[in-house]
Point group: none
Chain length 223, copies 2
DNA sequence: GTCTGAGTTAAGAAATTGTTATGAGAAAGT
DNA sequence: ACTTTCTCATAACAATTTCTTAACTCAGAC
């Protein structure tokens, strides 16, 4: 299903096993480590998409491990999510400063964790293009788009629309489909509204990315 | 790895060697001085991030050295941590009055010292910017901010808010996230309150540092 | 030429954020 | 204990950005 890999770092074998089981069930490839040092090594060699890490650990704590991961510029930076005990206020502060992306508080509820993991992994969509190395990268966390290394800011509606098209490059979406995704089925907007937004997106990205299929709809172009 | 430098000031060569060895092993750049006078000179010329200093020393004791370091406004102030013998209660009080940040009691346990050093160095966040040399430095101990060499005083709420944003430059934080960090999840404040604080911070720092992402939140700008 | 669907533009509405003033309350100074 | 100063939250209003609509233009099909 997915080809995301997750590294879990915790000193309690029970938790490792529990999380491994639950995340495996969802189709993720799971690696484990029992302390910060081991976690650091495995992050560098396995380059997981996501690191779930306990804050309190022997040998090297989560905060430090996180800092060292962030300092290594030669790997693809994973998303880092801490496992903290409720009330560990300080760890949350230090955690963000160390470069963490999010937190889950123990005790861990499987359903909640999985939905958080999913949303964390969903944050970026990168569409690589075939020949040249121009790729588009969508960051749902910041509502920004990175195109050929440049960052482009899009207003919300334009962002959602582009995000929808990019979700299936090459697939043609009708205006109705676009409208029901971006505006929902409740609110109804005029016919030309979609066109205007398409125009504004083209204005910012260039004309080559969204192609019109007459009488059908629009598609994100695989250049 | 890290580029922190530490100056150790002690009149006992054994201790200097012992501490140098242990801190070197952790990747810190270590300098040494054998008395207060030498320590003061080296602090001014080397501008270390952290000064570990014995209280009892010939020629010039730690307290006096510390005061003189704190009086020199033209250097980047180091973190100062005293090494005291157990039971020297008086020197701790005097040390804090002189401007020390922390103390470690002898005999020194290496692991404990290292974790203390790490946590002391973690208190400061320096965000270096890319091209020009304008950097922001946040001192959580004194609630001050150093920007382009100028020191700026911020009230508590403004400080916490800026500190939060700076913790992940470029990351966009929603008003909800900001509120739960600065005000906690208990107290609820109006929607516009965050905006007003942002305005006040901009008033003091300039408009270029905090960027608004409409419909999403605010971010500390990597200039 | 006419028709149809899409592109374009501008203008006003709606949503969101910026700014200022005010008073309550906390902190600091005397 | 008193006054003064600073901080903070809020409301009201201004400014800005974003969204939607309508009217008009353009291109290709018939």
């Amino acid at each position: 299903m997915t080809n995301y890999s997750i590294l879990i770092v915790d000193d309690e074998p029970d938790i490792l096993q529990f999380l491994t089981y639950n995340l495996n069930k969802e189709g993720y490839k799971v690696y484990t480590a029992q302390n910060g040092e081991e976690g650091l090594k495995k992050t560098f060699t396995l380059e997981p998409s996501l690191v779930l890490m306990d804050v309190m650990m022997p040998i090297m704590d989560g905060i430090e491990t996180c800092q060292l991961i962030r300092e290594n510029k030669s790997i693809t930076q994973p998303i880092i999510c801490f496992l903290t005990s409720r009330g560990e206020d300080y760890s949350q502060i230090a955690g963000f400063q160390a470069g963490a992306d999010d937190y889950v508080t123990k005790p861990i509820r499987p359903r909640l964790l999985i939905s958080k993991v999913k949303s964390l992994l969903r944050r970026y969509t990168t569409v690589e293009t075939k020949e040249n190395s121009s790729s588009i990268k969508i960051d749902r966390d910041r509502y920004t788009i990175e195109l050929k290394g440049k960052n482009i800011n899009l207003p919300k509606k334009e962002f959602q629309l582009l995000d929808f098209l990019v979700s299936r490059p090459g697939k043609v979406f009708s205006r109705d489909q676009i409208m029901s995704y971006v505006w929902g089925t409740e609110t109804i907007v005029g016919e030309r509204t979609v066109d205007v937004h398409i125009r504004k997106i083209r204005e910012k990205l260039g004309n080559d990315y969204i192609r019109t299929i007459k009488g059908v709809g629009y598609t994100y172009n695989e250049i």
